[in-house]
Amino acid sequence: MVLYDSATLGGSCSGSSSSSSSSKPPPLQQRQQKQQDIDGFLAGAGYRVRSSELRKVAQRLERLETAMVNSPADLSQLASDTIHYNPSDLASWVDSLLSELTQPPTCPSEFIMDPVSNQTVVSDAWTTAEPHMPQVHQNISYEQQSLNNQLTVVPAMEEDSGIRLVHMLMTCAECVQRGDFSLATSCLEDMQGLLTRVNTVCGIGKVAGHFIDALSRRIFQGIGGGSVNGGSAYENELLYHHFYEACPYLKFAHFTANQAILEAFDGHDCVHVVDFNLMHGLQWPALIQALALRPGGPPLLRLTGIGPPSPDGRDSLREIGLRLAELARSVNVRFAFRGVAASRLEDVKPWMLQVNPKESVAVNSIMQLHRLLGSDPNRNSPIETVLSWIRSLNPKIMTVVEQEANHNQPGFLDRFTEALHYYSTMFDSLEACTVQPNKALAEIYIQREIANVVSCEGSARVERHEPLSKWRTRLSGAGFRPLHLGSNAYKQASMLLTLFSAEGYSVEENDGCLTLGWHSRPLIAASAWQAVSDGTADFPA
C-alpha cells in the first residue's frame, strides 16, 4: 500500500524534487505566495504553481509523460535543440515541453466551464507556448538525465493511479474545506472515473472507494448523517460480531480489559461490572470462566449491560443476559444480570445501575467514550457528566479501550488526512483475514466509521476518536489515575496475536497501557484507571 508523499506530484515530474519534505520558505515569500495563491506544498519543494491551476498542471504532466513514453525519438531532439524554460514555473514549463512534442497543443475548449458561475476555472496564463523570457540557468545535461531516467522506468499503471487517487482525494477534501463544492464535485467525478482503472478489491483502490463514497455523501447529502447512523441495532450488533471475528482488535480489547478486571477483583467476593456497550456480550464468557477458576473460588458476579433499546419489542439485552446466566450456571458462578436500555450513553444516570455500596465496581468502556466528545454549547459537556458520575461510583477499576487516532480535529482536511492514513492501515491488516463472510461484513463495519468521520458534523458525528495522550490528559483532569496493565496482560496479548495468522500485528507497551497495531502503527489502545480517592479533580502528575 502506497501512502502519499505530499512533495511529489503524480510521480512523473522531473526527478529534482523527489522527496524533499516541506522546508518552510522565508516569511516574505510566504506572504507573496498567499497573495498569488501559490500552492504551499509545492513551493516548499521549489515549484511555483497556483493552487487553482493544480489540476490542470497535473493533467498536462500526465499527458507529457504519455507523450514521452510513446515517442522516445523526439526526446533526444528535446535534449539537444530546445531551450528549456525554468521548471520551477511548472505550468509554463510543461506547456512548452508539450508543444515541442508532436502532440497537438492544448485547446481552450478543454478548460472546464463552471456551469454555475460560467467562468473558466483556469487562469489565462495557459494559452499555448507564449514565449517567456527563457531563464537559462537550467542545467541542460541535468534535464537530459532526468528524461533518460523516465525512459528507463516504465511507471506501473496501478501504482500511479493509486497515487493519483490519493492526491485527488486530498484535493477534493481541501475543496470541501474551502467550501468550493463545484470543484469538489468535478474532482469526485474524476476520481470515480479513475476508480474504474484501479483494482478495487484490495489495497488503495478499496480504501479510496470508501472515502470517495463518504465525500460524495457529505457533498450531496449534507452533514446531517442521513443513513449512516440509521443502521438498526441488530445490524450494528451483527457487523460488530463479524468485526470481532475477522481481526484481533476487539479480542485484544476484551482480553486485556478482562485481565485488568480480574486482577482488580482479586480478593473481593461481591463484584459488579458495568459494560457500556453490551452488544452480544462476547467479552464476558472469558471473565466468567476466569472467575470460576480463580483460587479461592468465584465471587458473586453482577453484570449491568448498557445497550440501545430494541425497536420491535424484543428485549435483546435480556436475551444476552440469559445466555450469560446460563453459562455462569454451567460453571457454578453466582451471577445476576441487569440491562439498561439507552440510546446514548449520556442518558444513563447512575441510579439506573443500582450499585450496592458493599460491592466492588468495574466500569468497562470499549470504544464508547469518544462518542461523548461532541460538544453542544447548550448542554453540559457529556463527557464531563459521564466521567463525574463514574467517579462517584468509586470503581475499583475503569478499563478504557479507544481507537488510537486523531479524528476529532476541528479542521476537516486534517481529519480527513488522518482518517485516510488510519483506515488504510486498518484495511491492510484486514487483508490477512481470509474468512468470509467475516471479512466482508467487517469491512462494512469499518466503512460506516469512515462515513461518520468524513461525512458527518455536529451531533451526528459520533466517531470522534482521540489518541491515548489526549485521553490521558482528559482522564487525569477528571480525577482518575492510571493503573499499569501489567505483564500478564502483555503476555496474554502477545499470545493472542501470535495465534492470528498474519505476521504484521504488534503489541506495544506504552507507559502502562497496551496498544495493538499493524506494523508499528498503533491502531487501538487499552488503558486502566482508578478514581483518585481525595476530592480534588486535578491530580498533579
Partner: protein, 159 residues
C-alpha cells in the same frame, strides 16, 4: 505402538483356545489405558477406530485431559468441572489446545507453556457461549452463518 496391537482386532477369542496368545491386551484394560495415555491426539483418534473397546476408552475424557495438561503442571481440580460443563476435554483439545499449541510452538517462548492452556480455555469458553446462542435463541440473534470465534484457529497459518 498402535500397529503392534492391531493383531488383536477380533472379539471372538473362543475358537482358538489352544493357540490363544498368552497376553491379550483387551483383557487388561488398565494397561491399555496406560498405553493410550501416551499417544498424541491424532493417534488417539486412530486408536478409536480399532475396535469397540478401544473406541469406548478413547472417548473417555480423562485421556484427553491428560493430553491437554501433558507438559504443564496439573491444574486445580476445579478446572475439570468447568471444562466438562463447557463441552469436555476432547473438544477442548481438538478445538483449542492443539491449534493454539502448534501455533505458539513456532515462537518457542518458555514462559508461555502454562498460559497456553489458560488462553485455550478462555477461547473455548467464548466458543461455548456462541454455541449456546445457536441452540437457545429463536434464531434471530445468531444466524446460520454465525461466526465461530474459533474459526481463526482453523484456518491454515500463513507463514
Amino acid at each position: 505402538m498402535v500397529e503392534n496391537h492391531s493383531r488383536e482386532d477380533h472379539e471372538t477369542g473362543g475358537e482358538n483356545k489352544e493357540k490363544r496368545p498368552k497376553f491379550f491386551i483387551n483383557d487388561h484394560v488398565d494397561i491399555l489405558i496406560e498405553i493410550l495415555e501416551c499417544l498424541d491426539g491424532r493417534s488417539l483418534c486412530v486408536a478409536a477406530s480399532v475396535c469397540r473397546l478401544w473406541c469406548t476408552i478413547a472417548r473417555n475424557d480423562s485421556l484427553w485431559e491428560n493430553l491437554c495438561f501433558r507438559h504443564v503442571s496439573p491444574p486445580p481440580s476445579s478446572v475439570r468441572s468447568v471444562v466438562l460443563a463447557l463441552g469436555g476435554y476432547k473438544r477442548l483439545y481438538t478445538g483449542c489446545v492443539r491449534p493454539v499449541r502448534s501455533r505458539l510452538g513456532r515462537v518457542r517462548r518458555a514462559t508461555w507453556a502454562g498460559d497456553e492452556v489458560q488462553l485455550s480455555l478462555s477461547l473455548f469458553c467464548v466458543d461455548y457461549y456462541e454455541r449456546l446462542g445457536g441452540s437457545n435463541s429463536n434464531g434471530r440473534l445468531v444466524e446460520k452463518s454465525s461466526p465461530s470465534s474459533l474459526m481463526f484457529l482453523c484456518k491454515p497459518v500463513n507463514v
